[in-house]
Symmetry: C2
Subunit: 223 residues, 2 copies
Protein backbone atom coordinates (compact mmCIF):
# COMPACT_ATOMS: atom_id res chain seq x y z
CA UNK A 1 0.00 0.00 0.00
CA UNK A 2 1.11 3.55 -0.63
CA UNK A 3 1.90 5.57 2.46
CA UNK A 4 -0.74 8.14 1.60
CA UNK A 5 -3.46 5.62 0.72
CA UNK A 6 -6.75 6.07 2.63
CA UNK A 7 -6.45 4.29 5.92
CA UNK A 8 -8.34 3.85 9.17
CA UNK A 9 -6.49 5.12 12.23
CA UNK A 10 -6.15 2.35 14.78
CA UNK A 11 -7.15 3.15 18.36
CA UNK A 12 -7.34 1.00 21.46
CA UNK A 13 -10.61 -0.40 20.08
CA UNK A 14 -9.35 -1.56 16.72
CA UNK A 15 -5.60 -2.01 17.05
CA UNK A 16 -4.51 -5.57 16.29
CA UNK A 17 -2.86 -6.65 19.51
CA UNK A 18 -1.42 -9.99 18.55
CA UNK A 19 1.21 -10.54 15.92
CA UNK A 20 1.40 -7.03 14.52
CA UNK A 21 2.73 -8.20 11.20
CA UNK A 22 -0.72 -9.54 10.42
CA UNK A 23 -2.57 -6.30 11.05
CA UNK A 24 -3.61 -3.82 8.37
CA UNK A 25 -5.67 -0.64 8.51
CA UNK A 26 -5.64 0.60 4.91
CA UNK A 27 -9.03 0.89 3.23
CA UNK A 28 -8.00 -1.19 0.23
CA UNK A 29 -7.26 -4.23 2.38
CA UNK A 30 -10.25 -3.73 4.69
CA UNK A 31 -12.71 -3.21 1.82
CA UNK A 32 -11.41 -6.16 -0.23
CA UNK A 33 -12.02 -8.53 2.68
CA UNK A 34 -15.48 -7.10 3.38
CA UNK A 35 -16.52 -7.14 -0.28
CA UNK A 36 -15.60 -10.78 -0.73
CA UNK A 37 -17.55 -11.82 2.39
CA UNK A 38 -21.28 -11.40 1.74
CA UNK A 39 -22.03 -13.18 5.02
CA UNK A 40 -20.74 -11.13 7.94
CA UNK A 41 -21.39 -11.29 11.68
CA UNK A 42 -22.91 -8.31 13.47
CA UNK A 43 -22.33 -7.96 17.19
CA UNK A 44 -24.58 -5.91 19.43
CA UNK A 45 -25.55 -5.71 23.08
CA UNK A 46 -28.92 -6.03 24.83
CA UNK A 47 -28.88 -5.60 28.62
CA UNK A 48 -25.19 -6.44 28.84
CA UNK A 49 -25.65 -9.66 26.84
CA UNK A 50 -23.72 -9.93 23.61
CA UNK A 51 -25.49 -11.17 20.47
CA UNK A 52 -23.78 -12.16 17.25
CA UNK A 53 -26.05 -12.43 14.20
CA UNK A 54 -24.82 -13.74 10.85
CA UNK A 55 -26.29 -11.68 8.05
CA UNK A 56 -25.70 -10.35 4.55
CA UNK A 57 -23.65 -7.13 4.62
CA UNK A 58 -22.87 -4.84 1.71
CA UNK A 59 -20.82 -1.69 1.35
CA UNK A 60 -21.15 1.73 -0.26
CA UNK A 61 -17.96 3.72 0.27
CA UNK A 62 -17.18 3.74 3.98
CA UNK A 63 -20.75 2.74 4.87
CA UNK A 64 -21.97 -0.78 5.58
CA UNK A 65 -25.57 -1.92 5.13
CA UNK A 66 -27.60 -4.90 6.27
CA UNK A 67 -31.30 -5.71 6.07
CA UNK A 68 -34.00 -8.02 7.24
CA UNK A 69 -37.53 -8.34 8.47
CA UNK A 70 -38.96 -5.58 10.60
CA UNK A 71 -39.63 -8.33 13.15
CA UNK A 72 -35.93 -9.12 13.52
CA UNK A 73 -34.52 -8.71 17.04
CA UNK A 74 -31.18 -7.65 15.64
CA UNK A 75 -32.68 -4.99 13.40
CA UNK A 76 -34.99 -3.68 16.08
CA UNK A 77 -32.03 -3.34 18.44
CA UNK A 78 -29.32 -1.91 16.26
CA UNK A 79 -31.14 1.13 15.03
CA UNK A 80 -30.59 3.75 17.68
CA UNK A 81 -26.94 4.72 17.37
CA UNK A 82 -25.91 1.66 19.36
CA UNK A 83 -22.26 0.72 18.95
CA UNK A 84 -21.88 -2.36 16.78
CA UNK A 85 -19.06 -4.47 15.44
CA UNK A 86 -19.27 -6.01 11.98
CA UNK A 87 -16.85 -8.86 11.42
CA UNK A 88 -15.96 -10.55 8.14
CA UNK A 89 -13.83 -13.70 8.09
CA UNK A 90 -12.51 -16.05 5.44
CA UNK A 91 -11.09 -19.37 6.63
CA UNK A 92 -8.45 -20.04 3.97
CA UNK A 93 -6.68 -23.10 5.26
CA UNK A 94 -5.39 -25.31 8.05
CA UNK A 95 -1.73 -24.79 8.91
CA UNK A 96 -0.04 -27.92 10.24
CA UNK A 97 3.22 -27.41 12.08
CA UNK A 98 5.66 -29.74 13.82
CA UNK A 99 4.42 -28.76 17.28
CA UNK A 100 0.83 -28.31 18.47
CA UNK A 101 1.71 -24.78 19.55
CA UNK A 102 2.56 -23.62 16.02
CA UNK A 103 -0.49 -25.09 14.34
CA UNK A 104 -2.56 -22.27 12.95
CA UNK A 105 -5.08 -21.23 10.35
CA UNK A 106 -4.72 -19.11 7.26
CA UNK A 107 -7.44 -16.49 7.24
CA UNK A 108 -8.44 -12.95 6.30
CA UNK A 109 -10.64 -11.06 8.72
CA UNK A 110 -11.94 -7.58 9.37
CA UNK A 111 -13.45 -6.03 12.47
CA UNK A 112 -15.31 -2.81 11.65
CA UNK A 113 -16.72 -0.51 14.33
CA UNK A 114 -19.36 2.15 14.19
CA UNK A 115 -22.80 3.22 15.35
CA UNK A 116 -25.87 1.66 13.84
CA UNK A 117 -28.49 3.75 12.10
CA UNK A 118 -31.77 2.77 10.60
CA UNK A 119 -32.46 3.88 7.04
CA UNK A 120 -35.88 5.48 7.37
CA UNK A 121 -36.41 7.25 4.08
CA UNK A 122 -38.26 4.95 1.63
CA UNK A 123 -36.29 6.05 -1.44
CA UNK A 124 -32.97 5.73 0.32
CA UNK A 125 -34.02 2.31 1.58
CA UNK A 126 -34.98 1.09 -1.87
CA UNK A 127 -31.72 2.46 -3.31
CA UNK A 128 -29.74 0.55 -0.69
CA UNK A 129 -31.61 -2.68 -1.45
CA UNK A 130 -31.09 -2.22 -5.17
CA UNK A 131 -27.39 -1.64 -4.56
CA UNK A 132 -27.17 -4.91 -2.63
CA UNK A 133 -28.68 -6.81 -5.56
CA UNK A 134 -26.73 -4.96 -8.25
CA UNK A 135 -23.45 -5.69 -6.52
CA UNK A 136 -24.20 -9.41 -6.67
CA UNK A 137 -26.07 -9.75 -10.01
CA UNK A 138 -25.82 -6.56 -12.12
CA UNK A 139 -29.05 -5.98 -14.03
CA UNK A 140 -31.16 -8.48 -12.09
CA UNK A 141 -33.07 -5.88 -10.05
CA UNK A 142 -34.73 -4.41 -13.14
CA UNK A 143 -35.63 -7.87 -14.47
CA UNK A 144 -37.56 -8.83 -11.34
CA UNK A 145 -41.18 -8.30 -10.40
CA UNK A 146 -40.97 -4.77 -8.92
CA UNK A 147 -40.89 -4.29 -5.16
CA UNK A 148 -44.19 -3.26 -3.64
CA UNK A 149 -44.68 -0.51 -1.07
CA UNK A 150 -45.76 -3.16 1.44
CA UNK A 151 -42.59 -5.18 0.89
CA UNK A 152 -40.46 -2.09 1.31
CA UNK A 153 -42.25 -1.34 4.58
CA UNK A 154 -41.74 -4.89 5.85
CA UNK A 155 -38.01 -4.61 5.22
CA UNK A 156 -35.68 -2.85 7.61
CA UNK A 157 -32.33 -1.59 6.42
CA UNK A 158 -29.57 -0.92 8.93
CA UNK A 159 -26.46 1.05 8.24
CA UNK A 160 -23.19 2.07 9.84
CA UNK A 161 -20.40 4.38 8.84
CA UNK A 162 -17.11 2.60 9.46
CA UNK A 163 -15.47 4.71 12.16
CA UNK A 164 -12.61 2.31 12.65
CA UNK A 165 -11.59 -0.97 11.14
CA UNK A 166 -8.72 -3.39 11.27
CA UNK A 167 -7.83 -6.31 9.06
CA UNK A 168 -5.93 -9.34 10.19
CA UNK A 169 -4.34 -11.72 7.73
CA UNK A 170 -2.35 -14.89 8.03
CA UNK A 171 -1.11 -16.79 5.03
CA UNK A 172 1.75 -18.99 3.97
CA UNK A 173 3.42 -22.04 5.45
CA UNK A 174 3.76 -22.94 9.12
CA UNK A 175 6.37 -21.12 11.16
CA UNK A 176 8.10 -23.60 13.44
CA UNK A 177 10.76 -23.26 16.08
CA UNK A 178 14.21 -23.45 14.48
CA UNK A 179 15.11 -26.76 16.10
CA UNK A 180 11.85 -28.39 15.04
CA UNK A 181 12.58 -28.21 11.30
CA UNK A 182 14.94 -31.15 11.80
CA UNK A 183 12.07 -33.39 12.95
CA UNK A 184 10.51 -36.06 10.73
CA UNK A 185 7.00 -34.63 11.10
CA UNK A 186 4.85 -33.66 8.13
CA UNK A 187 4.03 -29.97 8.02
CA UNK A 188 2.22 -27.86 5.47
CA UNK A 189 -1.03 -26.19 4.56
CA UNK A 190 -4.43 -27.63 3.65
CA UNK A 191 -5.97 -24.84 1.55
CA UNK A 192 -9.73 -24.39 1.89
CA UNK A 193 -11.60 -23.41 -1.24
CA UNK A 194 -15.16 -22.20 -1.60
CA UNK A 195 -17.01 -22.27 -4.88
CA UNK A 196 -20.39 -22.65 -6.53
CA UNK A 197 -21.84 -25.97 -7.54
CA UNK A 198 -24.18 -26.29 -10.54
CA UNK A 199 -27.29 -24.11 -10.24
CA UNK A 200 -30.49 -25.86 -9.16
CA UNK A 201 -33.42 -24.37 -11.09
CA UNK A 202 -36.59 -23.90 -9.06
CA UNK A 203 -38.77 -27.02 -9.58
CA UNK A 204 -41.60 -24.58 -10.25
CA UNK A 205 -39.67 -22.72 -12.94
CA UNK A 206 -41.81 -21.97 -16.00
CA UNK A 207 -40.88 -24.11 -18.95
CA UNK A 208 -38.60 -22.37 -21.41
CA UNK A 209 -37.24 -19.75 -19.03
CA UNK A 210 -33.52 -19.62 -19.72
CA UNK A 211 -30.89 -19.14 -17.07
CA UNK A 212 -29.50 -15.61 -17.47
CA UNK A 213 -25.81 -15.57 -18.37
CA UNK A 214 -24.56 -13.78 -15.27
CA UNK A 215 -26.58 -15.64 -12.69
CA UNK A 216 -24.00 -18.34 -12.03
CA UNK A 217 -21.25 -15.79 -11.56
CA UNK A 218 -22.34 -13.51 -8.74
CA UNK A 219 -19.95 -10.62 -8.24
CA UNK A 220 -19.74 -11.30 -4.52
CA UNK A 221 -18.96 -14.54 -2.74
CA UNK A 222 -17.55 -17.57 -4.50
CA UNK A 223 -17.84 -18.08 -8.26
CA UNK B 1 -36.16 -35.38 16.31
CA UNK B 2 -37.74 -37.43 19.07
CA UNK B 3 -39.88 -35.50 21.47
CA UNK B 4 -37.76 -36.59 24.42
CA UNK B 5 -34.42 -35.90 22.75
CA UNK B 6 -32.09 -33.56 24.68
CA UNK B 7 -33.01 -30.02 23.85
CA UNK B 8 -32.21 -26.47 24.91
CA UNK B 9 -35.17 -24.55 26.30
CA UNK B 10 -35.68 -21.36 24.33
CA UNK B 11 -36.09 -18.15 26.33
CA UNK B 12 -36.43 -14.55 25.24
CA UNK B 13 -32.66 -14.55 24.66
CA UNK B 14 -32.46 -17.50 22.31
CA UNK B 15 -35.91 -17.90 20.79
CA UNK B 16 -35.88 -17.63 17.01
CA UNK B 17 -38.20 -14.74 16.33
CA UNK B 18 -38.45 -14.80 12.57
CA UNK B 19 -39.87 -17.65 10.57
CA UNK B 20 -40.41 -20.16 13.32
CA UNK B 21 -40.24 -23.08 10.94
CA UNK B 22 -36.53 -22.49 10.61
CA UNK B 23 -35.78 -22.57 14.34
CA UNK B 24 -34.53 -25.64 16.20
CA UNK B 25 -33.43 -26.14 19.78
CA UNK B 26 -32.59 -29.85 19.95
CA UNK B 27 -29.01 -30.69 20.85
CA UNK B 28 -28.51 -32.95 17.84
CA UNK B 29 -29.16 -30.10 15.40
CA UNK B 30 -27.27 -27.49 17.44
CA UNK B 31 -24.22 -29.71 17.96
CA UNK B 32 -24.07 -30.85 14.31
CA UNK B 33 -23.88 -27.24 13.11
CA UNK B 34 -21.27 -26.30 15.72
CA UNK B 35 -19.13 -29.38 15.05
CA UNK B 36 -18.99 -28.75 11.31
CA UNK B 37 -17.97 -25.09 11.82
CA UNK B 38 -14.43 -24.96 13.24
CA UNK B 39 -14.38 -21.19 12.72
CA UNK B 40 -16.97 -19.54 14.94
CA UNK B 41 -17.54 -15.94 15.99
CA UNK B 42 -17.41 -14.99 19.68
CA UNK B 43 -19.23 -11.87 20.80
CA UNK B 44 -18.36 -10.02 23.99
CA UNK B 45 -18.68 -6.56 25.44
CA UNK B 46 -16.08 -4.07 26.68
CA UNK B 47 -17.42 -0.78 28.07
CA UNK B 48 -20.69 -1.14 26.17
CA UNK B 49 -18.88 -1.74 22.86
CA UNK B 50 -19.55 -5.03 21.14
CA UNK B 51 -16.64 -7.04 19.76
CA UNK B 52 -16.94 -10.03 17.44
CA UNK B 53 -13.81 -12.16 17.12
CA UNK B 54 -13.57 -15.04 14.65
CA UNK B 55 -11.79 -17.97 16.26
CA UNK B 56 -11.52 -21.76 16.36
CA UNK B 57 -14.15 -23.28 18.63
CA UNK B 58 -14.45 -26.89 19.70
CA UNK B 59 -16.94 -28.79 21.82
CA UNK B 60 -16.94 -31.37 24.59
CA UNK B 61 -20.50 -32.31 25.50
CA UNK B 62 -22.39 -29.12 26.27
CA UNK B 63 -19.19 -27.15 26.75
CA UNK B 64 -17.47 -25.01 24.12
CA UNK B 65 -13.75 -24.19 24.12
CA UNK B 66 -11.55 -21.65 22.38
CA UNK B 67 -7.92 -20.70 22.77
CA UNK B 68 -5.29 -18.19 21.86
CA UNK B 69 -2.39 -16.16 23.02
CA UNK B 70 -2.37 -14.86 26.58
CA UNK B 71 -1.96 -11.42 24.94
CA UNK B 72 -5.30 -11.67 23.15
CA UNK B 73 -7.83 -8.95 23.99
CA UNK B 74 -10.68 -11.36 23.50
CA UNK B 75 -9.19 -13.97 25.80
CA UNK B 76 -8.23 -11.46 28.45
CA UNK B 77 -11.79 -10.11 28.45
CA UNK B 78 -13.92 -13.22 28.29
CA UNK B 79 -12.52 -14.96 31.32
CA UNK B 80 -14.48 -13.59 34.24
CA UNK B 81 -17.96 -15.06 33.84
CA UNK B 82 -18.87 -12.42 31.26
CA UNK B 83 -21.87 -13.31 29.11
CA UNK B 84 -20.80 -14.28 25.62
CA UNK B 85 -22.47 -15.42 22.43
CA UNK B 86 -20.81 -17.99 20.20
CA UNK B 87 -22.20 -18.06 16.67
CA UNK B 88 -21.57 -20.66 13.97
CA UNK B 89 -22.77 -20.10 10.43
CA UNK B 90 -22.60 -22.00 7.16
CA UNK B 91 -23.51 -20.10 4.00
CA UNK B 92 -24.92 -22.90 1.83
CA UNK B 93 -26.26 -21.07 -1.18
CA UNK B 94 -27.83 -18.07 -2.86
CA UNK B 95 -31.58 -18.31 -3.34
CA UNK B 96 -32.84 -16.40 -6.39
CA UNK B 97 -36.53 -15.65 -6.48
CA UNK B 98 -38.79 -13.83 -8.93
CA UNK B 99 -38.98 -10.73 -6.72
CA UNK B 100 -36.17 -8.99 -4.84
CA UNK B 101 -38.16 -9.44 -1.63
CA UNK B 102 -38.07 -13.24 -1.77
CA UNK B 103 -34.39 -13.55 -2.58
CA UNK B 104 -32.71 -15.32 0.28
CA UNK B 105 -29.80 -17.46 1.37
CA UNK B 106 -29.63 -21.09 2.36
CA UNK B 107 -27.74 -21.39 5.61
CA UNK B 108 -27.33 -23.23 8.89
CA UNK B 109 -26.51 -21.20 11.96
CA UNK B 110 -26.34 -21.51 15.73
CA UNK B 111 -26.28 -18.88 18.43
CA UNK B 112 -25.08 -20.30 21.75
CA UNK B 113 -25.18 -18.33 24.99
CA UNK B 114 -23.32 -18.78 28.24
CA UNK B 115 -20.78 -17.31 30.61
CA UNK B 116 -17.10 -17.44 29.77
CA UNK B 117 -14.64 -19.13 32.06
CA UNK B 118 -10.91 -19.41 31.82
CA UNK B 119 -9.40 -22.86 32.13
CA UNK B 120 -6.73 -22.33 34.77
CA UNK B 121 -5.59 -25.82 35.68
CA UNK B 122 -2.58 -26.81 33.54
CA UNK B 123 -3.64 -30.44 33.10
CA UNK B 124 -7.19 -29.48 32.19
CA UNK B 125 -5.84 -26.91 29.75
CA UNK B 126 -3.56 -29.41 28.05
CA UNK B 127 -6.40 -31.94 27.86
CA UNK B 128 -8.63 -29.36 26.17
CA UNK B 129 -5.93 -28.49 23.63
CA UNK B 130 -5.31 -32.16 22.91
CA UNK B 131 -9.04 -32.67 22.41
CA UNK B 132 -9.10 -29.82 19.86
CA UNK B 133 -6.34 -31.48 17.85
CA UNK B 134 -7.68 -35.03 18.21
CA UNK B 135 -11.07 -33.96 16.93
CA UNK B 136 -9.48 -32.64 13.74
CA UNK B 137 -6.62 -35.10 13.16
CA UNK B 138 -6.89 -38.19 15.41
CA UNK B 139 -3.44 -39.39 16.45
CA UNK B 140 -1.56 -36.25 15.40
CA UNK B 141 -1.05 -34.84 18.91
CA UNK B 142 1.13 -37.79 19.96
CA UNK B 143 3.17 -37.59 16.75
CA UNK B 144 4.15 -33.96 17.33
CA UNK B 145 7.04 -32.44 19.23
CA UNK B 146 5.57 -32.38 22.76
CA UNK B 147 4.17 -29.15 24.16
CA UNK B 148 6.49 -27.36 26.58
CA UNK B 149 5.47 -25.87 29.92
CA UNK B 150 6.26 -22.43 28.52
CA UNK B 151 3.97 -22.95 25.51
CA UNK B 152 1.17 -24.14 27.76
CA UNK B 153 1.60 -21.01 29.88
CA UNK B 154 1.53 -18.74 26.84
CA UNK B 155 -1.76 -20.28 25.71
CA UNK B 156 -5.08 -19.26 27.20
CA UNK B 157 -8.06 -21.56 26.94
CA UNK B 158 -11.54 -20.15 27.34
CA UNK B 159 -14.64 -22.19 27.94
CA UNK B 160 -18.39 -21.82 28.23
CA UNK B 161 -21.16 -24.19 29.19
CA UNK B 162 -23.96 -23.76 26.67
CA UNK B 163 -26.82 -22.41 28.77
CA UNK B 164 -29.06 -21.78 25.79
CA UNK B 165 -28.76 -22.26 22.08
CA UNK B 166 -30.88 -21.98 19.00
CA UNK B 167 -30.31 -23.18 15.47
CA UNK B 168 -31.71 -21.54 12.38
CA UNK B 169 -31.82 -23.33 9.07
CA UNK B 170 -33.02 -22.41 5.62
CA UNK B 171 -32.75 -24.75 2.70
CA UNK B 172 -34.53 -25.62 -0.49
CA UNK B 173 -35.84 -23.59 -3.43
CA UNK B 174 -37.11 -20.01 -3.37
CA UNK B 175 -40.60 -19.39 -2.01
CA UNK B 176 -42.33 -16.86 -4.23
CA UNK B 177 -45.71 -15.20 -4.08
CA UNK B 178 -48.32 -17.39 -5.77
CA UNK B 179 -48.88 -14.98 -8.65
CA UNK B 180 -45.18 -14.62 -9.38
CA UNK B 181 -44.71 -18.24 -10.44
CA UNK B 182 -46.33 -17.32 -13.74
CA UNK B 183 -43.55 -14.83 -14.54
CA UNK B 184 -40.80 -15.55 -17.05
CA UNK B 185 -38.05 -14.91 -14.53
CA UNK B 186 -35.33 -17.44 -13.74
CA UNK B 187 -35.39 -18.64 -10.15
CA UNK B 188 -33.39 -21.27 -8.34
CA UNK B 189 -30.50 -21.94 -5.99
CA UNK B 190 -26.76 -21.48 -6.44
CA UNK B 191 -25.31 -23.99 -3.98
CA UNK B 192 -22.08 -22.98 -2.26
CA UNK B 193 -19.58 -25.72 -1.59
CA UNK B 194 -16.47 -25.65 0.55
CA UNK B 195 -13.69 -28.19 0.20
CA UNK B 196 -9.98 -28.77 0.52
CA UNK B 197 -7.54 -28.20 -2.31
CA UNK B 198 -4.36 -30.27 -2.64
CA UNK B 199 -2.11 -30.04 0.42
CA UNK B 200 0.88 -27.71 0.15
CA UNK B 201 3.84 -29.29 1.93
CA UNK B 202 6.00 -26.88 3.91
CA UNK B 203 8.89 -25.78 1.63
CA UNK B 204 11.15 -26.57 4.59
CA UNK B 205 9.81 -30.12 4.94
CA UNK B 206 12.61 -32.65 5.50
CA UNK B 207 13.19 -34.80 2.48
CA UNK B 208 11.49 -38.17 2.67
CA UNK B 209 8.85 -37.22 5.25
CA UNK B 210 5.63 -38.77 3.99
CA UNK B 211 2.26 -37.13 4.30
CA UNK B 212 0.29 -39.05 6.96
CA UNK B 213 -2.82 -40.75 5.58
CA UNK B 214 -5.37 -38.83 7.62
CA UNK B 215 -3.92 -35.38 7.25
CA UNK B 216 -5.88 -34.42 4.14
CA UNK B 217 -9.15 -35.52 5.70
CA UNK B 218 -9.59 -33.50 8.89
CA UNK B 219 -12.60 -34.63 10.89
CA UNK B 220 -13.84 -31.03 11.18
CA UNK B 221 -14.38 -28.48 8.44
CA UNK B 222 -14.42 -29.37 4.77
CA UNK B 223 -12.87 -32.57 3.42
Amino acid sequence: MLDDAPSFTPTKRSKVKRNHLRGAYDQETVFAILDSAPLCHIGYVIDGQSYVTPTLVWRDGDRLYWHGSSASRMLRTVREAVPVCVTAAHFDGWVLARSAFHHSANYRSVMAFGRAEQVQDAEEKEAALKLMMEQIWPGRWDALRPMTAQELKATMVGSMRIEEASAKIRNGPPVDDDDDYALDIWAGVLPIETGLADPVPDPKLREGVAQPAGVTQPNRGPR
